[in-house]
């Protein structure tokens, strides 16, 4: 599997990662190399194998639908890069 420069730009966009033009070439080479390596998986027939998500095959545990956490807005917003009046600040989204 060989990724083109355009493939890398598209993946970077999907992943919301700014990648410099100089790095596009490096990622294309590295990622293609890793994908080639990963392709060894294709040699095995897995048509009748069930995928394994959890080693004990346990189901997702559910809890009662009750409030378990109190409001900790101030504590958590203290970590934010920019807040105002209890709101997270981001660049203007709507004109």
């Amino acid at each position: 599997m060989s990724l083109s420069h355009d493939d890398v730009r598209k993946i970077a966009h999907l992943a919301r990662l700014a990648v410099s033009e100089a790095d596009v070439e490096v990622y294309a080479r590295n990622l293609s190399g890793i994908l080639d390596f990963v392709e060894q998986m294709e040699a095995v027939d897995t048509d009748h194998v069930a995928p394994m998500a959890h080693p004990q095959d346990t189901a997702q545990r559910l809890r009662d639908d009750v409030v378990a956490e109190g409001d900790q807005r101030e504590r958590f917003q203290a970590l934010a890069p920019a807040v105002d009046a209890g709101l997270y600040l981001v660049p203007k989204v709507i004109e």
Partner: protein, 484 residues
């Protein structure tokens, strides 16, 4: 004092031979004078450690001490520690002061173990050499030109240099066992779901598991007792009572069935490592164990499958770092998209970005079946191989790593070569089994790690098998020159 195990330090505290404050001060001084060349700590929490030591002494005086009360330790910087910087080895979190304690940290606090500080690691636990850390690489105390392994490289180096009696680690593809091997210490990766992942910064959620790192298997057992157990806050935590992990330390090995996987003893392993592992096998035979060959035919696919599962889960988990709610934010973003892409592009290092992109690609429309689903099916095949092997044997034994500690920079340019340094550890994570590494000999002055793999929830036996070996050998007692 630093050449003693936790069990011995705990006994010294109980007899009043020293106080926790003295002990904690001793290790803090060692960190201050010896860590400059190692870079194993990213944060030293001197005041907090001494305050906790004082509390531990008071607790001991009132007769309420447990085996870890007053014995200091360090935490890998992946665990959230309330009020203390928790960077996960990344520029992204270099300003992050955790607002709460991870369950693991909470449990060690409850056990009365003072925290000396936070240890260096590969960025977001992605690496096998500790070279991807934003804080710079950690040096191996056995040879400063060599890596300590990764991702729990700071924890392994700090324990090996006896800057702390123990440290926590996490193991997604070998990140406890491989650095333990390369630094000559003992480390346990428990069964997946044994130890809570709550407050442990996520890398690949279906594989991540925390565990103890210390000089001896007995110490690992004491630490595992404190950190294990069901936690409702971790949705994949196992609801199952935890036995006493020290219970089987004294069990004789006569008749123990040890499996040697043919696939782990082929080409690719350095001669010095092979020699040490073979000597360990002989030692086990002398202890009464019976050795037989077993097959893990699909284990060769573990590294390829891992490099789909882990990056896919990493791309999903690391989507939370958006430059909005916490962590790094770029300067002067033009618009929201620019804020996301530059905060992430500047905040993450090269290896993390590589894995995020790999995972994003594997999960993108049209590729899910060919990559993630295929890899999950291979996981099943790998787990089935182990199940079959454990019908015939009690534990599986082999090398932890194909080589001893490699040189800094030696594998940094080629991701696939670096990934293959975890070739013997990754299958265990994919299957969700418990695994250990213990020091078993040296090759050209560098430690060799012996890997022991147990059946699900069989940690107590695994620790016993390791402890019996350590009763008749002294590799776990060896301290690198300059740190004795």
């Amino acid at each position: 004092m630093h050449d003693k195990t936790i069990a011995e330090l705990s006994a010294a505290l109980a007899k009043g031979e020293c106080s926790s404050v003295e002990l904690t001060e001793h290790f803090l001084k060692r960190i201050e004078s010896l860590d400059g060349g190692l870079n194993s700590f990213v944060t030293v929490t001197r005041e907090q450690a001494l305050a906790q030591a004082k509390e531990a002494d008071a607790r001991r005086a009132s007769g309420e001490a447990g085996p870890l009360t007053g014995v200091p330790m360090a935490h890998k910087d992946i665990f959230c520690t309330q009020g203390v910087k928790t960077t996960c080895g990344s520029k992204m979190l270099n300003n992050f002061i955790a607002p709460y304690d991870a369950t693991v940290v909470e449990r060690f606090k409850a056990a009365g173990s003072p925290m000396l500080g936070k240890t260096n690691m590969d960025e977001f636990a992605m690496g096998s050499s500790n070279e991807t850390s934003f804080h710079g690489p950690v040096k191996n105390p056995w040879d400063a030109e060599r890596v300590p392994g990764g991702s729990s490289g700071g924890s392994a180096a700090a324990v090996a240099a006896r800057l702390t009696p123990s440290a926590t680690g996490t193991d997604t593809g070998g990140s406890i066992r491989q650095p333990a091997a390369l630094c000559g210490i003992s480390g346990l990766k428990p069964t997946y779901g044994r130890v809570s992942r709550w407050g442990m910064i996520a890398f690949a959620s279906s594989l991540d598991q925390a565990g103890p790192m210390a000089a001896s298997a007995e110490d690992c057992a004491l630490l595992a007792n404190a950190m294990s157990g069901f936690d409702a806050r971790d949705s994949t935590s196992i609801e199952r009572p935890v036995e006493d992990f020290t219970a089987r330390l004294g069990e004789p090995l006569k008749g123990l069935r040890i499996g040697l996987p043919r696939e782990f003893f082929g080409e690719g392993m350095d001669a010095g490592v092979a020699k040490a592992v073979e000597a360990a096998v002989e030692e086990y035979k002398k202890l009464g164990a019976v050795v037989k060959d077993v097959g893990l035919p699909n284990s060769g696919l573990s590294v390829p499958a891992y490099y789909v599962v882990a990056p896919a889960e990493c791309s999903s988990n690391l989507a939370r770092f958006d430059g909005v709610r916490y962590g790094y934010r770029c300067e002067d973003p033009r618009d929201l998209m620019d804020l996301y892409t530059r905060s992430r592009g500047e905040g993450f290092g090269a290896e993390v970005k590589r894995r995020i992109m790999l995972g994003t690609y594997a999960l993108s429309a049209g590729y899910f079946d060919a990559y993630y689903l295929k890899a999950q099916k291979i996981r099943r095949l790998i787990a089935d191989d182990f199940r079959k092997a454990f019908d015939e044997v009690d534990v599986i034994l082999g090398p932890t790593s194909p080589s001893t500690a490699f040189k800094l920079g030696e594998k940094a340019d080629d991701p696939v070569t670096m990934y293959l340094s975890d070739i013997y550890t990754i299958a265990v994570n994919l299957a969700g089994l418990p695994g250990m590494s213990i020091p078993a000999g040296q090759s050209e002055g560098l430690p060799v790690g012996l890997q022991l793999i147990g059946n699900y929830f069989d940690e107590a036996r695994l620790l016993g098998v390791a402890h019996q070996y350590q009763l008749v050998t002294d590799w776990h007692r060896r301290i690198p020159e300059g740190f004795a």
